[in-house]
Symmetry: C2
Subunit: 478 residues, 2 copies
């Protein structure tokens, strides 16, 4: 392997295996019969292992290193090779035995979470979580020793490259400066403003498909199906959005579709030149989430979209006025669960998790400290005590059970990135909005850091104040 | 790699990659949006290549050879290792460049077939087919030189191991001794005996699911979906049957389900001990087809099943009597296309293709000779001239375009194997039928040759006379 074309072909083969995995993940959630679970898990693990081996092989490392000595490379290629080299080095830090063990214990812990959450059994779950946290700490120690960052930051950077915990601390603290005031200011929005949204699920599916088509989702290279939780899966060549519907919550389905549509645009429009190499992938979870939240929380609240949606409801006999839609969307109702809370308190939910997981990974607290700390922070940040209701408290999310530590703050980042982008382009028409996002976000792949992408696109430093201003503009405009 | 357990783990990883491929093949036919075709084809090719590399690696060859020197192996393990060694040697005969080239030209040729069949353009298709046949001949020459068989037989043995063309010739000639007489004897069955089968497709799907459940198909590890052509895909842990329905051809759907159900039982019950090793796979296409034909053509014509089906039609308001079902099924109507012809003339269709493809691969004729030869044989064997109607003549099947030479005779073998089995166990009740098949066919995997499996199970030499007798019994019993 000597040429750039060889290296590209090598990574393209990784991309191709991922294609099969991505489709099978989608199948698992939408189509797979229940008792095929174990065989599928084993098959997917196998493919992950093959990819891990390919991504850490000596042959690719040597080829990349050697080619980097070539004086005639263009900048783009140099960036692609450097990030490939960094990925190889990073992945090689972890012994394969640890990778396999984490995989195994994660499966066990996810299963324990499902089982024990149902019966509110924190004791049962915490044993498995403790085992997983020990392994994750081991991993974090290895990564942090190599990078010179804190253990938590080294995990965070797997989801949000180059993000500093100092910066996160500052952003969260900035949010604390204005958020409680806004929650107080708009608390009258907590009045019950429900509207009749009853409409058969079959009709909802039709409307969601129609809407996605009209927004530009390409159904000749993608699908919309039903699953327990909405997600955007598949591969950039074959995007699989899923959603769930309730016959009395039409708008819940619509805004979930909008959210996943944002993810799908990003995936679809990532750069293809170095397919399978790190630069061709999403830049970070924060950026990914910024694209979904942009459509769900920014564009979705624009007059233009709300009028469009109102017309759709007329077409299908629901007849919800634009102003009723807006009133319904802008209810402030803090809820003890993250996925049922309102837009403003969502950020507090994230802060709560961030504070706990950072201390957990940095070994300032243990798994056993979580419930008490959760209750304390929940009372402070949300005004809600979770008490012994663990299944709606510290056991509500799958993230920790799945080994995702350092992931939660990306939701906050996604929200502030989205607000900052919306501040920049909120006045553009739909077509120009897509053009701007394509040029400034999607096509940049992982060539740059998340913060660089947002700051150079919006021509402003990262700040939480765009989020604050957007909230004020939205909640005042009822 | 030293131990049996290492070798088993190695092959299990192959099995796992195949799992992902199998699910993605199914997805391609049932779910995939049209424009994702190219990306999917590339991803599947990649996985095939990985499997080819794994199946021909020096490390596995050395491990198998070394372990075979061990004196303490049991017979089953020795058989598993010997057949693994044979597979490695066989696959190593072909240069990887030829494997890739065949793959590439096959894609091209299949595409050409789809496109040119539509417009009845033999000239256009024959160019691509000629290119493919040249490569397939090259492959056959390599294989036949190593095995000492004719080129055609070496291809045949990829689908039907250890089958001789001499034996095929004898079987086909034996069939010619009795088949034309039976076609003449039962030609009055060609009277129009259509019954009203009009029933909405949604109801048909419900009935087919209900029937499969009642026959024992495990929907907790399998699915039934819709595709253009019925097939049984997925993996033994997650079987994916598909079917197609017409609202005026209820029975067509039912018997296609029965056919695929037979395939599914075989796949589901293959031996699991050496997963991924050759012995764990279906023994041959002929045996596979014998299981589907057993359910479609033998068990499906039993009084017990036909009464069951008649009751189903009553339950769903169609009210077809058992005798009407039988009359409908037993119409003799030779058709110029294989998939639309009757049971008896189906065998003639296969013979026609066998004669042509054998001569083609053994270089006695060229691709350009096919249409004339087809017409001549069609007239002789079916009494139908295909003339210039190539799309219903020599272009009707995808097999040759897909590079499947040596595959067609397996349909005949499947039919005579099935008849021979039915002769042996036709009197058993359903439960005992499954037990017998499980013990004598399914669990034998590829530990033995197809002929050995049939002859030791039925305790009779292979013969076409069981097929003759079954036809007589069925067609006389109206």
């Amino acid at each position: 392997m000597r040429e750039l074309s060889d290296i590209k072909e090598y990574y393209r083969s990784i991309y191709n295996i991922e294609h099969l995995m991505d489709i099978c993940y989608w199948d698992q959630t939408t189509m797979m019969p229940e008792n095929s679970f174990l065989a599928r898990a084993e098959a997917l693990s196998e493919a992950e292992l093959i990819i891990h081996e390919k991504k850490t092989s000596q042959v690719i490392f040597d080829a990349v290193e050697k080619l980097l000595l070539d004086d005639n490379l263009d900048n783009i290629t140099i960036m692609a090779l450097l990030s490939a080299k960094k990925e190889i080095e990073q992945k090689r830090l972890l012994p394969i035995s640890l990778v396999k063990e984490i995989k195994k214990i994660t499966c066990q812990c996810e299963y324990s979470w499902v089982k024990n959450k149902e019966i509110n059994n924190w004791q049962g779950f915490s044993k498995d979580l403790t085992q997983l946290v020990e392994l994750i700490r081991e991993k974090a120690d290895i990564l942090s020793e190599a990078s010179g960052t804190s253990p938590y930051e080294s995990l965070l950077n797997e989801y949000e490259p180059m993000m500093k915990t100092d910066m996160l601390d500052n952003l969260f603290e900035e949010i604390q400066m204005w958020l409680p005031g806004l929650a107080e200011r708009f608390k009258s929005n907590s009045l019950n403003r429900n509207v009749n949204q009853k409409i058969p699920i079959r009709t909802q599916i039709k409307i969601n498909k129609e809407m996605l088509s009209e927004l530009g989702f390409d159904f000749s290279r993608g699908r919309l199906d039903v699953s327990a939780h909405p997600f955007c899966g598949g591969t950039r060549d074959d995007i699989r959005i899923t959603n769930r519907y309730s016959d009395s919550n039409f708008m819940g389905g619509i805004y979930a579709s909008l959210h996943e549509f944002g993810h799908s645009l990003y995936e679809r429009n990532l750069p293809n030149e170095f397919l399978g190499m790190p630069v061709s992938y999403p830049c970070s979870i924060g950026i990914h989430e910024s694209q979904s939240l942009f459509f769900e929380m920014c564009y979705g609240y624009s007059d233009s979209f709300i009028n469009y949606l109102s017309k759709k409801t007329v077409k299908y006999g629901l007849n919800i006025s634009a102003s009723s839609i807006r009133k319904h969307l802008l209810q402030l109702k803090p809820n003890e669960t993250r996925i049922n809370t309102d837009e403003i308190h969502y950020l507090q939910h994230i802060y709560l998790r961030y504070l706990i997981e950072k201390d957990l990974i940095n070994k300032n607290i243990t798994v056993n400290d979580i419930p008490e700390l959760w209750d304390e922070l929940s009372l402070k940040l949300l005004g809600i005590s979770s008490g012994k209701d663990h299944k709606n408290g510290c056991m509500q999310d799958i993230h920790w059970a799945a080994g995702f530590f350092g992931y939660f703050p990306c939701y906050m980042l996604g929200y502030i990135y989205a607000s900052q982008i919306y501040k920049k382009i909120g006045d553009l028409n739909y077509e120009d909005t897509l053009l701007w996002l394509r040029k400034n976000i999607w096509l940049k792949g992982a060539f740059f850091s998340p913060v660089d992408i947002i700051e150079s696109g919006t021509e402003e430093k990262i700040s939480t104040l765009y989020a604050r201003d957007m909230i004020i503009a939205k909640y005042e405009n009822i």
